[in-house]
């Protein structure tokens, strides 16, 4: 069954989640198993309900937001962990209470399982007519839930899970699971937001301390400042935000203070205790390290998605003597088939790439194959979205034709008779202005 193959990353994540939870709540195995499977089923059912209740991107937005909230929580916990482990005052004991409480075990397991179930359900296309696929998902999840306690017993005893390490791994596994679904992916939009955030921040910072404009500054110095305005800054900034929580948790464990052994009057025994504490600390580092690896896998999957895009070769078009480009609705290509149709128009030295697409509302749109903020790398079409190749931002088909952000820049057009009519001058100028603006912005002008 092809669908089972597609579900492998999600099922693997689910198994990982169960193993980590079982090890993280060693005295609450029943709670974890029962809440786990119920939560997963609830998540699948919830996703189905969402798909029925809302059209378009809303269900994805809701699930993606819950992932985002989880990631933010991880950030909060990681910072708190660092503060606790470096403080000289009394260490927080909530970690122990957390690991043994049945309420915390139930809550963490339940929430994680619901999200995991919902994410997995998103992989199955269409809410209707896929009952078999849903059945396969649910049955595999149940089987894995039964298997997990047995597998967990095989794991070495040294595989220790701290509460913060557990949270890091759970979030990492959920993000790994979601990163293979374009519309749930967090990493690429994060990079985009980070790029904008850093640009704004650097600009505001320079304004606030009255740094002079580039005309007064040495070009070599400006080059370094220019890096902050470059395109890579979004990717690297995204990487930093993506990995920092797990790194912070690892550092917190690494810098945890060793127990005081000053009361022991025998050197060997002191060293034995310290060595044991160091060894135990080292074992606890394993989980954040694993989380880092999973985060890396998620980022990789997001940056190089294994989705095939619909990306037709642009067809050359020409203008009539009066400067109009006319594309028949039903000629060689069917403009109203809901797919992206790319064209290229050349006028002397200048050229412009654009596409025609019928959105899910049944309206035709004509847009540049470029957006107002990125380099004009163009768009491809995947399920329910078009994707900007440059920044990997997904634009729901519903919003194609509307300006703003990384949406394709709309081009005015008219539907006349059986064709779409575009003014070639407007098209060329619009392309020129967009490309000029984005290329200049990327070259680091303040």
């Amino acid at each position: 069954m092809a669908i089972l193959y597609k579900l492998i990353p999600h099922l693997l994540s689910w198994l990982g989640i169960l193993l980590v939870l079982l090890r993280g709540f060693p005295v609450r195995r029943t709670v974890v198993t029962v809440t786990g499977i119920s939560g997963f089923l609830l998540g699948v059912a919830g996703a189905l309900l969402l798909f029925r209740a809302f059209q378009g991107a809303t269900p994805f937005w809701i699930i993606k937001s819950s992932l985002g909230v989880g990631f933010l929580c991880l950030w909060g916990v990681s910072v708190a962990t660092v503060y606790c482990s470096t403080g000289r005052g009394a260490m927080l004991l909530w970690g122990e209470r957390f690991a043994t409480g049945s309420l915390s075990a139930g809550a963490v397991t339940g929430i994680t399982a619901i999200v995991a179930g919902a994410v997995s359900a998103c992989k199955i296309p269409g809410a209707d007519g896929n009952a078999l696929a849903y059945m396969a998902l649910v049955l595999s999840a149940c089987a894995l839930t039964g298997l997990a306690p047995l597998l967990e017993k095989l794991l070495p005893a040294s595989f220790k899970v701290s509460p913060s390490g557990m949270l890091a791994t759970l979030v990492a596994l959920l993000l790994f699971s979601s990163s293979s679904i374009l519309r749930l992916d967090l990493f690429s939009p994060l990079s985009m937001k980070v790029m904008k955030g850093i640009h704004d921040f650097v600009h505001q910072f320079m304004e606030s301390i009255l740094i002079p404009d580039h005309l007064f500054v040495r070009p070599v110095v400006w080059k370094y400042i220019g890096f902050l305005f470059g395109k890579e800054v979004g990717f690297w900034g995204g990487i930093v935000i993506w990995f920092t929580p797990a790194i912070l948790i690892a550092l917190a464990i690494h810098f945890e203070r060793l127990p005081s052994v000053a009361h022991i009057r025998q050197g060997a025994q002191r060293r034995r205790l310290l060595a044991a504490a160091i060894r135990e600390r080292r074992y606890r580092l394993f989980i954040p390290a694993l989380a880092l690896l999973i985060f890396a896998a998620a980022a990789y999957q997001s940056s190089f998605p294994s989705v095939e895009y619909w990306d037709p070769k642009p067809l050359p078009v020409t203008a009539t003597p009066s400067g109009e480009i006319i594309i028949p609705k039903r000629g060689e290509v069917d403009l109203e088939d809901g797919k992206l149709h790319k064209y290229i128009f050349k006028q002397g030295e200048r050229e412009a790439r654009f596409f025609v697409l019928m959105n899910p509302a049944g309206e035709l749109t004509v847009d540049l194959d470029a957006c107002a903020i990125c380099k004009p790398d163009g768009y491809g079409q995947a399920e329910g979205t078009v994707i900007c190749y440059y920044c990997k931002t997904l634009i729901p088909l519903e919003t194609v034709g509307k300006p703003g952000g990384c949406n394709p820049v709309p081009v005015p057009f008219a539907e006349r008779g059986e064709g779409v009519v575009i003014d070639s001058m407007t098209l060329i100028n619009s392309w020129g202005a967009t490309v000029k603006a984005t290329v200049r912005a990327k070259e680091g002008a303040k």
């Binding site: 933010l72 950030w75 909060g76 910072v79 708190a80 503060y83 403080g87 000289r88 005052g89 937001k193 904008k196 955030g197 704004d200 921040f201 505001q204 606030s208 301390i209 009255l210 740094i211 002079p212 404009d213 005309l215 007064f216 500054v217 040495r218 070009p219 110095v221 203070r257 060793l258 005081s260 052994v261 000053a262 009361h263 009057r265 025998q266 050197g267 002191r270 310290l274 703003g404 952000g405």
Partner: protein
């Protein structure tokens, strides 16, 4: 009541305050991002307007100030402790604290410590040993820097006022509150600075008796009548004389051209006529600086004359010269240098500069001390009940120091210390 105040103080000076406040602002930032692309600007504006957010932000400098006081107090207490004043030792200031029954025979111990490079101070019933230097000054500078940074941000977002003005050679210096002294000269020259490539100077004559000549540079910007003078772009103030066959009355007016650097176009529409003139500064010789050359030498301007969308002709004329063709006449009797300048009323800038200084000095102190001369200290105190209290701590948690401490305790505990004075 006292308890309440103490609780509030403890909360306000907690190490957790800065991350919590920053975290909250980050959440607000994320919230705003759903509604606008200009998230940061919107957040700054919101903080400037909302008292709640301003107070929230103010918690950080308050926290740094309280911590600064608290940590200084603790440090002084600890110093006193090491100077053998009868101060109660605070176990939290040390890594390890232990009590053991032992007698105060410190002479041998003192020699052992000296042998491994520790300085010691001994009294009848106490021994202090230490080596290296504390990074406390760096910590204080760091806290002071944090205080300044967030105070600066708070002042900036709540009080910053910005006015854009044209500073023109020969004209009085405009300010948000009126006019100042006459601008004597605007000059742009090459600079050999590490960061700046060109130096701009604006010389302003006194505006009232007793005032001195003022010279404004690029960085750091100077204050003039309470505002920072923040030069942004260069431009020209051109006296344009223009007449055309259908505009016999002509046009004579100062116009402001934002046409720097050479090659950049700026256009001016002649009001009440279909004419528009596009100006550019011609590119200088390749060897010369495209900004400086034109600021320094006699000026020539290129122009294009358009009537509606139709290009009538293009040409160039030097300042002081004129151009005439087919009944059109264009003359540039005068051109003066101009700097588009922002007047920034914002004293938060001082705090942010101070932050940079504090953080820099803190880093310069912290790095070598923590790397090469970390502070390690021990304190042994004997009380009348026959119990020895021993404290030890090392900045950076060096284990070698803990080893020396433990060995000393072993010796004290076993009573195997050479008790004779050296």
């Amino acid at each position: 009541m006292k308890r309440l105040i103490r609780t509030i103080l403890a909360a306000a000076s907690s190490r957790g305050v800065p991350p919590i406040v920053v975290g909250l602002f980050f959440l607000i930032y994320i919230g705003i991002a759903f509604f606008t692309d200009e998230t940061l600007i919107a957040l700054m504006a919101l903080t400037g307007k909302s008292v709640i957010l301003a107070v929230l932000l103010a918690l950080i400098p308050l926290n740094s100030a309280l911590r600064l006081l608290m940590e200084t107090g603790r440090f002084l207490k600890k110093r006193k402790m090491f100077k053998e004043k009868a101060t109660e030792a605070i176990p939290e200031q040390f890594d390890e604290m232990v009590e053991l029954p032992a007698s105060p025979h410190f002479a041998g111990l003192e020699r052992r410590f000296a042998a491994v490079g520790y300085k010691t101070r001994r009294t009848e019933n106490a021994l202090a040993a230490w080596r290296g230097f504390t990074v406390f000054p760096a910590r204080i500078l760091f806290l002071a820097g944090t205080f300044c940074l967030f105070t600066g941000i708070l002042i900036s977002v709540t009080t910053r006022a910005s006015h854009r003005q044209m500073v023109i050679e020969g004209e009085p210096m405009p300010t948000p509150e009126g006019i100042g002294g006459t601008v004597k000269r605007i000059a742009l020259a090459k600079s050999n600075g590490l960061i700046l490539a060109r130096a701009l100077t604006i010389e302003v004559a006194p505006s009232y008796s007793g005032e001195m000549d003022r010279i404004f540079g690029i960085y750091p910007p100077s204050l003039y009548r309470g505002s920072f003078v923040y030069p942004r772009y260069l431009g020209l103030d051109l006296l344009l004389q223009f007449s055309a066959p259908d505009l016999p009355g002509g046009y004579l007016k100062h116009i402001i051209l934002n046409c720097y650097p050479p090659g950049k176009e700026d256009s001016k529409t002649i009001s009440g006529s279909p004419y528009r003139i596009v100006f550019t500064i011609p590119e200088p010789e390749p060897s010369s600086d495209r900004y400086i050359s034109y600021m320094a030498r006699d000026k020539t301007l290129q122009f294009k004359l358009l009537k509606g969308e139709e290009l009538l002709f293009s040409g160039s004329a030097p300042v002081g010269g004129e151009f005439a063709r087919d009944g059109y006449r264009m003359a540039f009797p005068e051109a003066r240098r101009l700097v588009v300048t922002d007047y920034i009323g914002d004293y938060g800038v001082f705090f942010i500069w101070a932050t940079a200084l504090f953080f820099f000095v803190a880093a310069v102190i912290w790095l070598p001390l923590r790397t090469f001369f970390p502070r390690k200290e021990m304190l042994f105190r004997y009380d009348d009940s026959g119990i020895m209290k021993a404290f030890s701590g090392s900045e950076g948690g060096r284990r070698a120091h803990a080893g020396i401490f433990h060995e000393a305790l072993d010796l004290l505990g076993a009573g195997k210390i050479d008790t004779t004075d050296a």
